[in-house]
Subunit: 427 residues, 2 copies
C-alpha cells in the first residue's frame, strides 16, 4: 500500500467531492438512498456474516474477552436491526434546507439563513460493526458524506458493511465515495485523518476515553467530544428517601458501562445520619462497591460491611473517576453550595441530579450546575437522544460548542447566508 | 514573576469561578454592569491615555509603521467610541435564558432546553486596545467571564482599560476576575492559555492569519476560527456589466485590508472577450495590480497596461492568496461548473458572489457554493454582523461548527437541558 497519509487524504478528497451533490440533493433522493442502504444490507448478509466470522476467529485467537467478542459478533438479527435502524432514519424530518431567518437588510438585500449539511463527516469508532451502518445512515440522511474508521478488530466486518452501503448509494445516483471507509488497520491512518482540516468538516469519535482524548488532543479537524460521564446524584437535606433510593439504584446499576450512569453520590450533612445507613445498605444489596469518605465508611462499617471487600476509603482521585462498573464514590457535603461546587469541579458536564422536596433548592441546582443535562428528582439514565425525543442519537456531547448533551441529525448541519441583490454595493 | 503556566492557570481558574454567578445573574444585573463599564472607561480616560502614550512611545522607538501606530493610538474620541459601544451592548436583547424547546417526555418528565452562557471566554488579539472593551463588554453582557490577551505592543493600554472595566464589574457586585487580562507579554502565556481545556470554554482569536493559525493548530481549547477571506466574484455569462463593475470596485477597493474584500475575479469564457477589457481598465483605474491568467494578461497588454508594473501572470499560488491589498487575481473559467469548483477548492468559505441576470444560475450558485455568505448581484463587503442585523459582531467565522459567518452574542451561548421529575427511573 502507498504511503498512509497520501492514501487517507486521497480517500477524504474523493469523499469531500462526493459530498457536494449530496449536499443539495432533495429530501426524497436522500430518503431513497437510505432505504436502498437498508435493502443492500439485508442482501449482503451472507458476505457480512462471512467477513464477521473471520473477524471473530481472529479476535478469539487473540484472546479477546467475552464482552468485546459479543460487541463484535453479528447475527441475522443484528443485521436486521441495522437495516431497520436505517429505515427509521428515512422517516426522520429533514433537518436540511430550513430557513432559519429571513429578512430584508440594508440597501434592500434579501437575506436568508438556511440550514445546510456540514459536508464531510469523519467517524472514528471501535470494534462495533453496527456503528458503520448507523454512522453512514445518519450522514447520507442529512446530506453529508462520511469517512469511517472502524476498530481494527472489526475491520473485515466494517468494510463489508460499508461496501454494501456504498453500492446502494451508487445505485441511487450518488458517488459511492459518499460512504468511504479506511481500509487499513494501520494506526497512522487515524492520525492522518485528524490532520485533514479543510477537507474533513468534523470528526466524531465514538468509543472509550482513550480514543476520545486522542482525538481532542491531536485533531486539527474540529471534534465533537463525547462520552465521558462522571455523573452525580445529590441528596439534598429535604430529600425523600423513597424517591432517592430507587433513583440511586437505577442511575448506578441499571446499566453500568454507559456514560449516563451515576458514579458519585453526595449526601447533605443535615441528613447524613439518617440517609447513609440506608444508602450503604442499598448499594451493598445491589453489589455496588463503595469508595466512601470518613462518614460513609463509618456507616458502612456500622452496617456490617467489610472494608476492602465491600468498601474502601475514597481518595481525592475517586471524585473524578468514571468507574463504568458496580462502584460508586460517596461523600458527605455541608450543603447545596458545596454540592454544586463539587459537581462543577469534578463533573464532566454530562448529567447531574438532585433529589429534593424543596422546589427552590431544585431550581437553584438546575440553574447553577454546569452540565448538559440537569435533573430534579429523576435518574441520570434518561440522558439519551431517544428519551429526549431527538430521533437517532449520534452521541452525547460533553462540550459546549455546536452540540451539547445528546445530539442527533441537527448536529450534522451548519448554515449559510444566502443574499439576493440587484447590484448593491456597500456605501 | 512565578512560572507563566501556573500564573495563567491561576488567572483562568479565578475567572472561571467568577463566571458562575455571572452565568445566572439577571438580565438587569448584567445590563447594569455593562453600563457601569462604559462610565468607568470614561472616568479612567486620563490613566488610559497616559498608558497608551507609553505604548505609543515604545512602539515608535521600535520603528513600528504608521498603520500599526494608528491602530494602537487612543484619543478622547476613541475612548468615547468604546464607551458608547458598551452602552449599545446594554440595549441588545438578552440571548440568555431563552427556552429553546419545552416538552413532556417519557415517564412524564418535564424537559426544557434553555440557552445559557458558555462560561469562560478567552480572546486573543493584537495591538488594538479597543478590542479589550468590545470583548469584555460582549462577554459580561452575555453572562460570560473573559480572560483577555492583548498584543504586547498595546499591553499597557489594554491593562489600563481592563482594570477600569474590572473595577466597574466589581462595583456592580460581581467578582472583578470576571474581566481578567494576562499581565505579561511573554509569548508562553498564550500557549498556556490554549492548553486550559476544561477551564476555558472557548478561545476566539481576533487578528491576522498567523495568530489564528497558531490557535487552530495548538489549542486544546475549542477555537472559533475567524478572519481569512479569499473571496471571489464570478461574472457569469449572463452578466450585466453595469452591475458587475461597481460590485468589483466596491468589493475590491472600498476597504482593502478586511476579510470580506474580494481577492479573486472569475470571468466566464463566454463573455471574456467583451468583459476583460472593461475589467482590466476599471481595476487599473482604481489602482489594482492584476495577477492574471493568459487571457487576462493579453487583455491587459492590449489595454496598454505594463507587465510588471500593472499586472503579472498569475501563479497557482495566486488562486489561494488573500492579498489584503490593491491586488486581485483574475481568471477565465469555462462555465459555472468550473467557477463553483474553483471557489470550493480555493475559497476560505467566507463570502462569494456571482453577477448574473440568469435567476437559475444565481440560485445554483447560492446552493452549490460552500461558504458562509453567498451573494447574487451584490458586493461581498456586506458580510458583517452589523449589516446582517446581528448586533455587535465578534468576528466572522470561517468554520462550520457552532458559529458560521458573522457572529455575535448568540455565539457566546450554549444550552442545557433542565429536567424536572418526581422520582422517575429509567425502565
Amino acid at each position: 500500500m502507498e504511503d498512509i497519509a497520501t492514501y487517507v487524504e486521497g480517500l477524504a478528497a474523493a469523499a469531500k467531492a462526493a459530498s457536494r451533490p449530496l449536499g443539495f440533493a432533495s429530501n426524497e433522493q436522500r430518503v431513497a438512498a437510505v432505504r436502498a442502504m437498508a435493502t443492500a444490507l439485508r442482501d449482503a448478509e451472507p458476505t457480512i456474516l462471512e467477513q464477521n466470522g473471520l473477524d471473530m476467529d481472529a479476535a478469539a485467537k487473540a484472546g479477546t474477552n467475552a464482552g468485546l467478542l459479543d460487541r463484535l459478533k453479528l447475527t441475522h438479527e443484528r443485521i436486521e436491526g441495522m437495516a431497520s435502524g436505517l429505515e427509521k432514519l428515512a422517516e426522520l424530518p429533514d433537518p436540511m434546507g430550513r430557513v432559519l431567518e429571513h429578512r430584508t437588510i440594508d440597501c434592500g438585500l434579501d437575506l436568508q439563513k438556511v440550514s445546510v449539511p456540514l459536508g464531510l463527516v469523519a467517524m472514528v469508532y471501535e470494534a462495533r460493526p453496527n456503528v458503520t451502518a448507523d454512522a453512514a445512515g445518519i450522514c447520507i440522511r442529512t446530506g453529508n458524506a462520511c469517512i469511517l474508521r472502524g476498530g481494527s478488530m472489526a475491520q473485515r466486518s466494517c468494510v463489508a458493511i460499508a461496501h454494501a452501503l456504498a453500492d446502494a448509494v451508487e445505485a441511487c445516483g450518488f458517488s459511492r465515495e459518499a460512504v468511504s471507509i479506511i481500509e487499513t488497520t494501520d494506526r497512522a491512518a487515524t492520525g492522518a485523518l485528524m490532520g485533514l482540516r479543510g477537507i474533513v468538516d468534523v470528526l466524531i469519535p465514538r468509543g472509550g476515553a482513550g480514543l476520545i482524548q486522542r482525538c481532542v488532543k491531536e485533531s486539527l479537524v474540529p471534534v465533537i467530544e463525547t462520552g465521558t460521564g462522571n455523573c452525580h446524584i445529590y441528596l439534598h437535606k429535604d430529600v425523600d428517601m423513597q424517591k432517592a433510593l430507587p433513583i440511586i439504584v437505577n442511575a448506578k446499576t441499571q446499566r453500568v458501562g454507559v456514560c449516563n450512569a451515576a458514579e458519585s453520590l453526595l449526601v447533605d450533612d443535615a441528613v447524613a445520619d439518617a440517609a447513609l445507613p440506608q444508602v450503604v445498605k442499598t448499594l451493598h444489596e445491589h453489589g455496588v462497591f463503595i469508595h466512601g469518605d470518613a462518614m460513609t465508611c463509618a456507616a458502612a462499617a456500622a452496617a456490617g460491611l467489610a472494608e476492602g471487600a465491600d468498601y474502601v476509603p475514597a481518595t481525592e482521585q475517586d471524585w473524578g473517576r468514571e468507574y463504568l462498573a458496580l462502584e460508586m464514590s460517596v461523600k458527605v457535603v455541608a450543603d447545596e453550595d458545596e454540592a454544586i461546587a463539587h459537581i462543577n469541579r469534578y463533573g464532566t458536564g454530562h448529567s447531574e441530579a438532585i433529589v429534593t422536596e424543596d422546589t427552590a433548592a431544585g431550581e437553584r441546582f438546575l440553574r447553577e450546575v454546569d452540565a448538559s443535562s440537569v435533573y430534579v428528582n429523576a435518574s441520570t439514565r434518561f440522558t439519551d437522544g431517544g428519551e429526549f425525543g431527538l430521533g437517532a442519537e449520534i452521541g452525547i456531547s460533553t462540550q459546549k460548542l455546536h452540540a451539547r448533551g445528546p445530539f442527533a441529525a441537527e448536529a450534522l448541519t451548519t448554515y449559510k447566508y444566502e443574499i439576493r441583490g440587484c447590484g448593491q454595493t456597500r456605501p
